[in-house]
Assembly symmetry: C2
């Protein structure tokens, strides 16, 4: 049984300082003319380390990981971190910002396959064929840590903890995907949206944000694509939730008024 009928990024620790900083925050030295990409914020001192690849690593292992994650990359809102077909060389850890991934069919339909926030990994799809199998698009100005994949493989042959953690992350993605299939295959619109909101707030809460108020980073159309619904249906369902007192909706500002009510929606076969 799935605990929540929806993929949960299972993290035990919360960290309250994951909000975005501009890189200039850390730019107080003479190196300021240097390309920001080479600024290092070591995994060992990153406030996301309990949500990200380093989970469970010891201090010495962490320092090795630090040397691996040497560069960061900023991606502006609307830009792609990678596209389908791009050669696969690295996986990426979201440091700040928000992404969507999407796959496209030949006839032009596309499907949002996930939304990624701080601490989550992007690019695992590329290992399969050495080319990326989806597009990763920033939904706001974002920063990612670049993790060269071949070096990650090398290092995870040395450290079984890192190896295991990486495997867990891939496995978790598979489990998440299966949860989305359940959602797409068997839920009605209201259930889908309720599950989506609960999942989002749960992940935001794990990052130190409120569990009851959130600002959506994606459009109704993107939510619809993820949930297998049209944007009008998403909009209507938001309105319905508001009428029923479950939510307060002001465009992208959402306040959850009745979390239990949302959960009941997800867990009821026939309402």
């Amino acid at each position: 049984m799935l605990n929540s009928t929806f993929p949960i990024t299972d993290v035990s620790a919360a960290d309250s300082t994951a909000r975005s900083h501009t890189h200039s925050d850390q730019c107080g030295t003479s190196a300021c003319s240097m390309k920001y990409d080479t600024f290092k914020v070591a995994c060992s001192s990153c406030n996301l380390r309990e949500l990200c690849l380093p989970v469970g690593l010891s201090a010495p292992q962490l320092s090795h990981l630090d040397s691996l994650v040497a560069t960061r990359k900023t991606v502006k809102r609307g830009d792609a971190l990678f596209h389908t077909g791009d050669p696969f060389r690295s996986v990426y850890a979201v440091r700040t910002g928000f992404f969507k991934t999407r796959v496209s069919s030949e006839d032009g339909r596309d499907q949002v396959t996930g939304f990624q926030m701080a601490g989550e990994l992007l690019g695992l799809d590329g290992i399969s064929t050495d080319r990326h199998a989806c597009d990763a698009i920033a939904l706001e100005d974002s920063q990612v840590c670049v993790i060269p994949y071949s070096q990650l493989e090398d290092l995870s042959r040395e450290f079984s903890d890192l190896q295991h953690q990486f495997h867990k992350i891939m496995s978790r993605e598979i489990v998440r995907d299966h949860g989305v299939m359940l959602l797409l295959g068997s839920m009605r619109a209201e259930e889908r949206l309720a599950a989506f909101l609960l999942n989002l707030t749960q992940r935001l809460h794990a990052r130190g944000f409120s569990a009851s108020a959130l600002v959506l980073r994606m459009t109704r159309e993107e939510i619809g694509s993820y949930l297998g619904l049209k944007l009008e249906t998403v909009s209507r369902t938001f309105s319905k939730f508001q009428e029923e007192g479950l939510l307060e909706v002001k465009q992208r500002d959402i306040r959850i008024m009745d979390e239990a009510g949302l959960k009941a929606l997800v867990n009821s076969v026939r309402c």
Copy 2:
């Protein structure tokens, strides 16, 4: 872009001897009283090695893998290889037979997340939490190779080829799942069933079976669950395909009469 709008198990080699055998086929020696589980069919001599975990391994590496995959397990039709919540210790490679995996929500709905045939791996979902996150049910009498996971981790720290192959398999599962999401999120019933049939025949063909005739191992209900449709819709769509000359359908015996027609269905936005 996805090549086929549907998850493809991308295998280059075909092998024509993957049909089911009862284990008694190999039981001609004095060891017959021995539990069949301990019979070893080394990966190095397995006719599935080009479709399974050993892809791309050298002979010496293969012999190490042989010592890892020491036991096999038979699962009778209808029985579970593992259940949701079972402790995770091994992944399994299907040797003969056919499986489905499914996840269940608290309210009793379930969703078939995949069908697995010879050479495909089962149990990768378990790495995430050390417990299996789905049920794996045999759709016919089947045999799997048991691959103890901790030993697989150990060995893949020694051999980067094995490590990489394992990662590829996990990544491929992620890519496959994303293809299913696309299917569930944006296709209509006919497109779903067409994509499903094309995917099945493609995988069967890679295993030496006909590309145009197949025997379904699953019920209409199981197909429906996988495709996010009700069994009646699956049945009606089969009938429609038959009327249109795309298929010949006799219960579970399917003959594809117009593969191009099926492919056109999958690739057309609006018919």
